[in-house]
Assembly symmetry: C3
Homo-oligomer: 269 residues x 3
């Protein structure tokens, strides 16, 4: 069974993107070492303020100050897991929303157990590809390394189960992104295959989702806005590009210039 999806509200997303750029949320990133530089530059382009404070000694202190917290397990190691626990604990005490990016969950036992442990601490949003969302919900995601082998709509049931059990929004990304809560599914269609040819575009989107959670706009609208922003930036960057190198450069340029009105013009029917 496929859950019925409706298109996201592009006008509300446009307003949320404006709110994000106006508020410049401070995003505490505990992310993987492959994408930390790109993630910081994506956040800056979108108008947020990135900060990677990684030690267990400081992670809780900083999460309490931040607008939002990102937890990405792509290159999880034991000291980072300890810092993540400290940061999430402090975030939940102070009401800082936090986002889980369960990279490659299901493919590897240790991180799978760790991500399931984290679910008990109520992430505001979970962002993953279909394989990851299915695996996180307890199914067999059958990913290959960090890539999904499933289409994003195959994960809608798993996403709704996670949303119901943990009170989280779930953003399943792919050719179409699906934003799922306990009651509804909203679809954001678009983008370009080029987004798969640059490492970390999904990880950076998760950081933007954290920024969305910290910007004060309604959460559903703000998360839809950053999903749409990444897709539209990719659509604009692709024809300007000769390959993955120039695409990554153009993507950052577009992320810095697109505004709410561009989202509305692209998706408002």
């Amino acid at each position: 069974m496929t859950l019925p999806a409706q298109t996201f509200d592009a006008r509300a997303a446009a307003a949320a993107l404006a709110a994000l750029r106006a508020s410049a949320p401070l995003v505490h990133c505990l992310t993987n070492q492959v994408v930390s530089n790109f993630t910081a530059n994506v956040l800056l382009a979108a108008g947020a303020a990135p900060a990677m404070v990684v030690a267990e000694e400081e992670a809780g202190e900083f999460a309490a100050l931040a607008s939002a917290l990102l937890i990405n397990v792509g290159t999880l190691e034991r000291p980072q897991a300890a810092a993540m626990r400290a940061a999430i604990g402090a975030a939940n005490l102070t009401g800082t929303p936090w986002v889980l990016d369960p990279v490659a969950v299901g493919a590897l036992g240790w991180r799978t157990a760790f991500c399931r442990e984290l679910l008990a601490f109520s992430p505001a949003v979970i962002r993953g590809n279909a394989s990851e969302i299915i695996a996180l919900a307890g199914g067999t995601g059958a990913g290959r390394g960090v890539d999904s082998t499933a289409q994003s709509d195959a994960a809608l049931e798993a996403a709704r189960a996670l949303a119901r059990e943990h009170g989280s929004l779930v953003l399943v990304t792919g050719a179409t992104d699906y934003l799922v809560d306990a009651h509804a599914v909203r679809a954001i269609a678009g983008g370009t295959p080029r987004l798969q040819q640059v490492t970390g575009t999904g990880c950076a989107l998760s950081a933007l989702v954290a920024a969305a959670c910290g910007c004060g706009a309604p959460r559903m609208d703000a998360v839809a806005a950053v999903s749409a922003l990444m897709k539209l930036a990719g659509e604009r960057a692709a024809p300007e590009s000769r390959g993955s190198g120039s695409f990554a450069v153009a993507l950052l340029d577009e992320l810095g210039t697109l505004g709410g009105e561009d989202l509305a013009a692209r998706w408002f029917a």
Copy 2:
């Protein structure tokens, strides 16, 4: 009270930049994981040789071989702190100059205590934004994450106090950079707001400062030269850029092509 500043000596800086490019100093970087790639590429563009030797087992051995050492606490962790202590100890035994970049000091207790501990080991140069320099000197810097909330001239008294107590040069960066020792303040004005939109431009400047300390030219002139180099490269890159992605690319290109004569032409009155 604001300390009186005079413009830096652009002709002496031009000569120092030529010396830097001619000597290709080997810069041992113990820096944060977000900016390590960009820092290495900035050093290469400027004609220096970067090397990131990070383990406690090797950091002292390598610092003794290097032309200069960079200590940047942006993503400080306990093993890195141990490697930093080993590297600084070896650097001071062998006369290798070392540079302190106290990222986000004041905002977080652990790194603040660590940076103050390091001050006892006589950094050749301290490079930070106004909030960081004020906090390092014992004041309330009131930074927000890694960004300063103060103008660079607000930190001149703190910079001079650090310079007097520790025998260091202090480079306070902002819209105008101030290079402060116990006796004088020199101002390097210029640059572009684009430099704030790419992560790690300040961290990479600190690496260039280390290269400056290891190039054999008079220290004050060489540090002023790399401050001016980064500002002028930014000024040239900005009008060629559509956003932060293409700006970062153009910045590296400009850092690789600008010479001493360009600094002299830009600032010599």
Copy 3:
């Protein structure tokens, strides 16, 4: 004495490159933190699938799933050394080929001992500059930081000794790359000095060598193919570039578009 070298077989390399792009090998990278992002993007551009699974808890599990494994000691730390031992052990049990990049071996005692320990575990390929290959074989490589001070042909005897003792292919890189086994030396000439001005091009080539080992084509041909691919991509990117920033972007673009026929046209006489 210089060993006689013959030119590599460009037609066989062309076929191997096509096989690599068709098979999309999953490359498990345990590499240094400076180059992890660039390495992942180079692998993606060449058609491979990168995955950096770094914890000791997961490295063996993932190496067993991967098409090939890369071990690069550029920023070796104790936990990474443990993960490397676990990954190599699992790779050898499951027949996953692994590649050793002995960054700066010879210059530093701890990594030198570690790399020599790893030689006992039969790397499929060893990729290094002349200083590193000489040092790994027990000679005095006299590198300076991460850069070689010797020409690549000075390391041919050392490369053959390593090949004979450990059953490995050895790729010595420089202005001419030499691919050495116990019986023959093949030369791949070309490239551009620009490749030295971007950090991590050698490290990323080692990752491509791992992809070559995991693509199913004859190993000698596939390794020659990725050496030639990097050189030709550099040759095409250099005239499009204004400096090291735009060169790195163009290099990724070229790596994504060059095919086997381009290698054949460039080197087939």
